[in-house]
């Protein structure tokens, strides 16, 4: 520049000086020297202006519209656009932010290309993959099953109780039928040995059948029909002895109940009572309730029934309900148990005893 200051403008170097002038590369004094030279040389004035017109001036109309994309603190800019593109494809942006990203991408082709590749990385849900057997996953509340099982158990328990009760009832009835005549025969054998002729009448048809078979066997063995009656008599006596052996327990109880009551009721004459009771007891083989009712009637008719006798004769509460409902049957069974075992079916706190058994050791 110092050279230029010393430089003298002339017709040989004016062009360079004019360019330097318009490029604003000259000092104020140099510029003044160039302007003086142009005034002195009028033929060079046009060339000086032409060089001056070659300069470009900025067009203020042209403006950068997306200046915000360049700001460092803007939502999406040239430094953070990748992250925003990822947020965009992850659908983590608000609607207005999405629009911003779309605007940015429109403005910057590089961003658009990148977004397209990111979108390719997005996995598509594969609907063809399904869980093979959903039935193993479905469940049901166990409560339902518990209820059904409970009902089932209750039903089984009820069935067992019913069967056991029925069997016991039958057993008790059978024993009654076997035992009652035995008591009578024993009483009679003690009191009236002559009346043993009534035994065939008292004995049940089953016994007669047994005797019949025994007779036939005896006749087959001895082949003498005349000897048979005597043997029958012996067998009758044996039968009489056998029956009490089978029904010892019942005899004792019957003795406690029936005969003693009758003795108390009619101490004067046992025979008429025995005779009077015989028909009832003979009928006892089947309809027990009616027999008891008749026994009660008989006792009431005698009007000598003691208070002790009443509990032993309380079985037939409603005789006309014979063959009635299950309730009646269960009640009878329960009473039979209570009477035989002397055990209450309910505890003191009114709890029902189920499955209580009493075994007589005697």
């Amino acid at each position: 520049m110092s050279k230029k200051e010393n430089m003298i403008i002339n017709r040989h170097n004016y062009e360079e000086c004019f360019i330097l002038y318009w490029d604003n590369e000259l000092t104020v004094s140099q510029k003044q020297a160039v302007e003086n030279f142009v005034k002195e040389n009028t033929d060079l004035q046009e060339e000086f202006k032409l060089l001056g017109d070659t300069r470009f001036t900025p067009d203020n109309k042209i403006q950068f519209e997306e200046k915000e994309f360049l700001f460092e603190n803007s939502f999406i800019n040239i430094t953070n656009y990748e992250e925003q593109l990822l947020n965009y494809i992850d659908d983590e942006l608000k609607p207005e932010q999405r629009k911003e990203v779309e605007r940015f991408v429109d403005q910057f082709p590089a961003g658009q290309k990148e977004l397209a590749i990111f979108q390719k990385t997005k996995l598509q849900s594969e609907a063809e993959i399904v869980f093979p057997d959903k039935s193993v996953l479905y469940r049901r509340e166990e409560k339902v099953r518990v209820i059904s099982m409970t009902w089932f158990r209750v039903a089984v328990a009820a069935a067992i109780i019913l069967i056991a009760g029925f069997a016991t009832f039958k057993l008790v009835n059978t024993n009654k039928n076997d035992g009652t005549p035995g008591v009578v025969t024993i009483d009679k054998s003690k009191d009236l040995p002559a009346e043993t002729k009534t035994d065939p009448v008292i004995n049940s048809p089953g016994d007669q059948a047994q005797k019949g078979t025994k007779e036939s066997l005896a006749s087959a063995n001895d082949k003498t029909s005349k000897q048979a009656p005597s043997r029958n008599d012996n067998k009758k006596s044996v039968d009489r002895n056998e029956v009490p052996k089978n029904t010892i327990a019942y005899q004792r109880e019957n003795k406690n109940n029936l005969p003693e009551e009758r003795k108390d009721a009619d101490p004067q004459s046992s025979d008429p009572i025995a005779n009077a009771n015989l028909p009832h007891l003979q009928k006892d083989t089947r309809p027990t309730q009616t027999n008891h009712s008749e026994a009660i009637n008989t006792n009431f008719s005698n009007q000598d029934v003691t208070l002790n006798a009443i509990p032993t004769l309380d079985i037939p509460v409603t005789p006309e309900k014979e063959g009635g409902g299950l309730k009646e049957f269960l009640r009878k069974t329960t009473r039979a148990f209570e009477r035989r075992t002397k055990i209450n079916t309910t505890t003191e706190d009114n709890k029902l005893l189920v499955g209580a058994f009493a075994v007589s050791l005697k």
Partner: protein
């Protein structure tokens, strides 16, 4: 959660969970076991599960179950991955889905899980964080890295083709 709601959950989400687990484990039998166990746990704890959040609960349980499973068989898993990588080098895939599957297989377990939860189920970063026990920002960072990895793999393979 009632019995009915549970069974509806089975109908609606069993396939989704199975898909998610299968894509991670790449073994049908293991995936089935994990899903079955997840539903079993949900059934056991049904009283504590809010029916409205049953899907998230299910995915959370299944994810944890899957992590336990992966830990148990980690050696085998790594071996499989290595072999698969070798295959890719020998036989470049031809279609985008296949390439993507291969790219997905190359991601870490966590990254794969995050991508699947995001792309398959459309969960938000926050929801994914709850399922995977990560913070929202962690999810964001891991997921973005995963996506960039996927992109780079795609570009690389496409250039090769």
């Amino acid at each position: 959660m009632t019995e009915r709601e549970y069974n509806e959950c089975v109908t609606t989400y069993a396939d989704n969970v199975y898909r998610f687990i299968l894509k991670n484990l790449r073994n049908e039998e293991d995936a089935r076991d994990v899903v079955q166990t997840a539903f079993e746990k949900m059934w056991i704890h049904r009283d504590e599960v809010d029916a409205a959040k049953s899907k998230s609960y299910l995915f959370t349980v299944a994810y944890r179950q899957m992590i336990d499973h992966i830990r148990k068989v980690k050696r085998i898993q790594l071996k499989d991955e290595f072999n698969e990588g070798a295959k890719v080098q020998n036989q470049p895939a031809n279609n985008l889905k296949k390439i993507l599957d291969e790219a997905l297989a190359r991601l870490s377990e966590t990254q794969r899980t995050l991508v699947l939860l995001k792309d398959y189920e459309g969960y938000s970063y926050e929801e994914i964080g709850k399922i995977t026990n990560l913070s929202e920002s962690q999810v964001k960072v891991y997921l973005h890295r995963a996506r960039i990895q996927l992109k780079e793999y795609l570009v690389k393979v496409e250039n090769v083709i």
